[in-house]
Symmetry: C2
């Protein structure tokens, strides 16, 4: 069959439409499930309102930020508007930037809506057993997954169709990632502020249960799950997905476009289609577990993707070499996920070792967690390195540029099943909320136990998906490095290599490597500071609201005050942390020129990958060690080991849910900023 | 004046002789100071014996290791002995390797001897006031500094004189660094095993003072200061110094030798001479503090070095450009030291902030320490990047190879005052021991207060010198990267660049970046495991030795059992951690060839610098925060804040004294292994 590019625009739009339709069906299905318990309806309403308030205030700030950036883009990018005749490109880029931000915001918002619809319903279904409760949580999460990836596939296809030039997509991608950076950082600070403060005052000081309704921070904590893990994570993966596609498309056009461009669009659409099928098949089998169900969905989707792309490759005459790259990426992604699982699953030895170390006190919990966190980075680093090397070697005979395209398609392959990943990831906070609601709604021991099992599956699967998404981000940014170089040369930079022996490159590398550390520190300090404020607020409520501590009938804490503390704090911290990364790129570019920026990107990727793997895995490890102790091991709840494990978990909270996953986005943003400003760096620099 | 190379061999040997003579004078001076207190003499004897036992057992293992390596070198390096006619080079390299190990061992051993002579005498002098006590501690430390650097200057000059070829010095340098790697790792594990176990059982469980003689681990703790901080650190800086000189000499010969080679030798000798003068001038001035005295010695030495080298440059017609590079290196080193001081000095805001965070519990102590530790890496990374860039730009007009030589001379400049740095660094453990001895010898409140002040100065200055030595290691390994490339090309590798866009290089970068994390994790886990064993041993003694806890007259703990636990544990852990780094280099080389190794070295440097700065500074920060709380702030001793601060300090112990500073050596070792094996990597590899 002779394929045409228009055909693939059509396919992209069609598959996106199928995904949206299926999402709508699932949404209606979830909404039709019963929610009758008054208390649950009330609390779920509080959570929804809290989340909406935060999102509204956050989006207001981001709208201002995005407007400023859009104007800057209009004036300066891809070239200063007065300096060339193609002024329409500036307009196209500004508009595509705005589209990126708006789609990202919509995806996040819709995810929130369906998550806050699913949590209460899943809690109530827990009374009927694990299967129906699971299905509501999973399908709620799937709505988010389908919408996010549908938006990405649709957006990329429409923008490319409209302007024809892949480099304009950099604006779209930058829109997605700049919003994601702030959504992730802001949501991450919010969620951990509330979580840490709730744990410290509730579990540690008073010895009450995690979701005890007497705790003034308990609603804020549940709101945090939604704004951080649902909305923030959705924005994050929307961004990774768009970035991977953008970079593949830019590199495809650099080697002549044609079939290769079509291939990128086709693979992206098929990945979404495979996820639709995988999601439709998702349920707990007879004698199955929730973890098993979630993981088997991932494997089914992967297999379908490989099969569909093989058929398409044969049908349309795409390059089999590139198919090999995609397959390599996907397989390595699964392997990285499994390795992460080994370090963070509580049925595996590492979690048990850390739990055992807790018996000797919190210092040992922290030290052993840090150590295993460091070790856990190794398999993923090797996996990314090997998949890049294999993809390159597969394609090397066709030339360097083709091989770079191969690497970018390995990233696309790894991210092909991202709709499935997001579904699994969103399932986590939904059932986490459901567990809280089951407790606050007084649904009884049995329902809570069911909700607990669902929650624990969410934690385990989260580790796998996190490893996956960090791996994919790693590969994506490698190809973004290629994109940067190709943009530099398009701007007349005449750069053929970033040689590490060149001190200008080296200068960039060292600065770039320091940035993820600085960025993480700022986020963690933000959580640190805000959590202390919230602890003070909780103490105030316990001291001034009569009967609250004792749980007197009718006495309620002022939940909204805690939500306000978290919101105000998160919004104050998110902009500076994000700006530091962006401004450092700009500074390095104007000081050292394109070569320094190339080094900067490399340093940023390397240390960013290392730190995000370390922090995400150490955090997951501590969390599950605490759960393992709470399940009655090493002395169980209330023992010294438990106290130590709780301290480890508290340290891990901002590691795994604030800093760790935000670094991903930080890397992408920096890479895109570099590509966007490449022409300016070539023209204006001091030492380059 | 027309200089000849022989003249500079002569100067090197002469200055080394002056340093040895001065060291001998100081040694005799220290020995003549009175030590009359029986209890102190007894305890100091126990410490000395414990240290000697450990060193003897450690050196036995290292002798076996070094013999194996020497044989491998003899057979394979620089080329397989059967494959070329210059078989004498193999012999020369093996012999120079052995010289490196032996000199390193001697320097460590002599340092121990004088340290164990000085500690008791300094304690007794504390009764007479701060000035005499300071002088004994400082001069004791200086003996170590002079001997270590004397050996380095002498060794490098003699080996070069004997063989004429700088690349043979790689063997000498590798001897120094392979021994340093194990000495640092072994000593670091020993010292922190004892320190952590003593603190946890003594301070935390029983609430007794740090150096209470009832604690069975107290002698092991003091032994640890000697084997870790004196012997280990001496080996470490001997290694850095030799590596910097070797790399400068290799690069000097690559651009034709002559004046440039002489310049390296001359600058090294003048640095040692400047240190002799600085040390001779070192004392507490009227109204001065110990910290002030130590710091002003550093500044005086730096100024003298700059003046002497300027005179030599004028006199012998050396390149002024290179003088500029050295000056840049030295000045940036001082700046890095000051930045480190800002993050770790308890009169500055950061330490106070972490102490304040401790009021909210240990999780906040850890989180804020981690964050500021991350932030603290930034100034040093910028400093290293900028000094490399400036040095390169200064020399760029004379060609790339000359500019690389310039960078290596910046490292030599930064390390020029290393004898002074070692003196200050060794002063720390001596007065730390003195403080313990003053307490155990019952010298009274006043003497303990004096010893406390000396100890605190040691901690502060340690941060500065640590920043300095990490910075110098960073610059050295950059020039070692140049050495590696020049060796690869000498072996016919024909590599003109390590391009980060080349996936083979990238593959190496990612693996290299993971290694320091893995290495650190292994060391920390080693401390973790051993400390738990020692805690069990201490508990056993408290439970079975009647009257020990109560401090009954005449009842003594079994100190030697604790020393044995630490020794056995440290010796078991040190080899695997060191081997991992070496074997990873070898594996990457045979898989990916020289380009992958180039990337590997870069990744290793970047992540190694980041992690070692992070861990050293965070550890110092926690230590001083604890001291700040103990001084009566934020609730003082016994408060909740204090408990949290102690946990922070315990986490920081293996960070700052085991993993952090060992990474330095790990980086150097890996760089040297790469250079040594370069010819083999060029010949044999799978994917290169």
């Amino acid at each position: 069959m002779t394929p045409t590019i228009t055909m693939f625009y059509g396919i992209s739009i069609l598959v996106a439409a199928i995904a949206f339709a299926f999402a709508a069906y699932l949404y209606v299905w979830v909404k039709r499930q019963p929610q009758e318990n008054k208390r649950i309806t009330e609390v779920a309403g509080l959570i929804r309102d809290g989340a909406n308030t935060f999102m509204k205030r956050e989006y207001k700030i981001l709208a201002i930020f995005a407007s400023v950036i859009a104007i800057l883009i209009l004036v300066f990018l891809p070239h200063p508007i007065w300096s060339h005749e193609d002024w329409w490109k500036n307009i196209a880029m500004a508009v595509s930037y705005i589209c990126g931000t708006v789609l990202s915001a919509i995806a996040g918002k819709l995810g929130l809506v369906v998550a806050s619809l699913s949590n209460g319903r899943s809690a109530e279904a827990a009374k009927k057993g694990i299967k129906p409760a699971f299905l509501i949580g999973f399908r709620g999460g799937s709505v988010m997954g389908l919408i996010v990836v549908g938006c990405a596939v649709l957006g990329v296809a429409v923008v490319l169709w409209a302007v024809g030039e892949a480099s304009i997509l950099l604006g779209f991608s930058f829109g997605a990632s700049s919003l994601a950076l702030f959504a992730k950082a802001g949501g991450g600070i919010f969620t951990k502020t509330a979580d840490v403060a709730a744990d410290l005052t509730g579990k540690v000081e008073l010895g009450i249960a995690e979701d005890d309704p007497r705790n003034p921070a308990v609603i804020a904590d549940n709101v945090g799950d939604n704004v951080g893990d649902v909305a923030g994570m959705g924005a994050d993966l929307f961004d990774s997905n768009v970035a991977a596609l953008t970079s593949a498309l830019v590199l495809a056009q650099a080697i002549g476009g044609g079939l290769n461009t079509m291939m990128v669009l086709c693979y992206a659409a098929l990945g979404l289609l495979a996820s639709v099928i995988g999601i439709a098949a998702g349920r707990i089998t007879k004698n199955g577990t929730p973890t098993g169900a979630l993981n088997s969905c991932t494997y089914v989707t992967s297999a379908i993707f490989l099969a569909l792309t093989a058929i398409a490759t044969a049908l349309f005459g795409f390059s089999w070499l590139i198919w090999g790259c995609s397959a390599t990426g996907l397989i390595v992604g699964v392997v990285i996920g499994l390795a992460t699982d080994y370090f963070t699953d509580d049925s595996k030895p590492i979690v048990k070792k850390v739990a055992h170390a807790s018996k000797s006190g919190p210092a040992f919990t922290v030290l052993s967690g840090v150590s295993y966190g460091f070790l856990s980075a190794l398999p993923a680093m090797i996996g990314i390195a090997v998949s890049a090397l294999i993809s390159y070697k597969i394609c090397a005979a066709q030339g360097t540029e083709f091989a770079l395209f191969g690497i970018s398609m390995a990233a696309v392959g790894m991210l092909s099943i991202v709709a499935m990943i997001i579904s699994n990831d969103t399932y986590g906070p939904i059932v986490d909320n459901a567990r809280g609601l089951a407790e606050m709604g007084g649904l009884g021991e049995e329902a809570i136990a069911v909700a607990d099992e669902l929650d624990s599956a969410g934690n385990t699967v989260k580790a796998v998906t996190k490893g996956f998404s960090i791996g994919a981000a790693g590969l994506t940014v490698i190809s973004l490095l290629g994109t940067f170089m190709s943009e530099v040369n398009a701007a007349g930079g005449n750069v053929t290599a970033f040689d590490i022996m060149d001190p200008t490159v080296f200068f960039g590398i060292l600065i770039g490597a320091a940035i993820p550390a600085v960025f993480s520190a700022m986020l963690i300090l933000g959580v640190d500071k805000n959590a202390q404020k919230m602890v003070a607020e909780i103490h105030r409520q316990f001291n001034t609201i009569v009967g609250l501590k004792e749980g007197k009938e009718g006495v309620k804490p002022e939940y909204d005050k805690c939500i306000d503390v978290a919101t105000t704090g998160a919004l104050r911290e998110l902009i500076p942390a994000g700006l530091v990364a962006i401004l450092a790129t700009v500074a390095v570019g104007f000081v050292g020129g394109p070569k320094a920026v190339g080094g900067f990107l490399l340093g940023n990727i390397v240390s960013g990958l290392l730190l995000s793997l370390f922090m995400s895995n150490a955090g997951g490890l501590w969390d599950n060690s605490k759960k393992y102790v709470e399940a009655g091991n090493e002395g169980g709840k209330g023992s010294e080991a438990h106290k130590a494990a709780v301290i480890g978990d508290t340290v891990g909270d901002p590691f795994k849910d604030t800093a760790g996953p935000s670094i991903n986005t930080q890397i992408t943003v920096v890479s895109l900023v570099a590509s966007l400003l490449s022409a300016l760096f070539v023209q204006f620099n001091i030492f380059g």
